[in-house]
Symmetry: C2
Subunit: 239 residues, 2 copies
């Protein structure tokens, strides 16, 4: 279950950096727990508690929390503590719409700029994923899904855009994960990927964009019902 969430700007260097900064380790750990949903919105994050948990002092913990705040994953109310970012249903929908639009944007650019090698890799990934659909391996499909979409980002050959897209996608990971369990979403998702690839193959960027937008909105709809259950936090949506 390699749930390595790569949030641009939130990783210092490539893998293998074992003697990395403590604040980085803590930040990665917390970011992962937040994106996977293990740390639910509204949860208070006490510095000392986290520090002892990681066998560190408060200093690196504070730095980690401050950085997560910029990434929008936690909210800091000065002198009142840090909480996992509250996501109102409206905000979640806004984030989904933004993701859908940015993905559509990416796939349009990718259609015009993808290299033969990239196209081949993308198709291979897609074909391979059929196996996860057949076997109902949601976890594997979820991993593939991220790889698939990120491969499209990269095919834009716009590094900055890739970072933005990956960053936004990561922030919705907790919600997307469960979305695939809804009904026959897995199969539909696969089919929609196929449509996107076909439009890309025809070089029709606008159509690919439309397909992608529809794909994302379908995923969003599959999620809508679930979101309401997610709101197990009290009425403290305000301050």
């Amino acid at each position: 279950m390699s749930s390595v969430q790569t949030i641009p700007g939130l990783e210092s260097e490539a893998v293998g950096d074992d003697r990395g900064l403590l604040s980085d380790m803590i930040r990665h750990a917390l970011a992962d727990e937040i994106t996977t949903g293990r740390l639910k919105p509204g949860t208070l994050l006490e510095e000392q508690q986290i520090a002892t948990r990681f066998g560190a002092s408060r200093t690196p913990v504070r730095e980690a929390l401050r950085q997560l705040a910029v990434a929008g994953m936690v909210d800091i109310r000065p002198r009142r503590g840090v909480t996992v970012a509250m996501m109102s249903p409206e905000r979640i929908m806004d984030m989904f719409e933004t993701t859908a639009e940015i993905e559509a944007l990416c796939v349009r650019l990718a259609t015009y700029r993808i290299t033969p090698v990239e196209r081949s890799e993308l198709q291979t990934m897609h074909d391979t994923s059929a196996e996860w659909v057949r076997s109902g391996n949601i976890s594997a499909y979820d991993d593939f899904n991220r790889e698939f979409h990120e491969a499209i980002y990269r095919a834009t050959h716009n590094t900055f855009l890739v970072e933005q897209a990956v960053g936004i996608r990561a922030r919705l990971a907790a919600f997307r994960r469960t979305q695939l369990r809804q009904g026959d979403r897995l199969m539909k998702s696969h089919a929609e990927h196929g449509q996107v690839l076909q439009a890309m193959a025809r070089g029709d960027g606008d159509e690919a964009a439309r397909c992608m937008r529809a794909h994302m909105l379908n995923a969003s709809c599959a999620l809508t019902s679930y979101i309401k259950d997610m709101q197990l936090d009290d009425v403290s949506g305000n301050r």
Copy 2:
């Protein structure tokens, strides 16, 4: 010269918070100096130096720098120091393209969702800006320009998208500022805004998006020549 750059996630609370966090003050100050270009890419930022400059200890400075790193405004090389983020010409172009696409995206959504009041305000802003074009008041036009584009973001009624758009725009502020001085860019910019507004008035979101994309790319071209001069930093584009 009210150059208040609002980077989403980089401000803790509304105005009036005088006894705010020191790290926030420092971060805002540094962010402003970086976005305005007063602090040039590649500049080394020493903790102690900044601390004494702000009459603070190194702790809040460190937190500020860490946060700026997540926002992509500085680069941190562990135990080697913090430098103002290097922007390669390729990266700048990537950022410009991304901005152009996101602005296009925003104006399309805005076309369908803008309220009559918002539409009126936007038109009024545009009309008023004609005065700055006539008088050649670049500073005033630059301020208006940001307001104009952000008003379009807001007209999407997607809070998250607004935050993303504003954040990306802010990171290009240093480059955009000078771009308006190029030739008759001021007048052209105004005319292009008018075309965008006309397309919006017709309810033609796709055409508005095309106009906006063209508008942004024109601004980008006006800048290309300038960017090369900006590269006064050595060949240390690598690590």
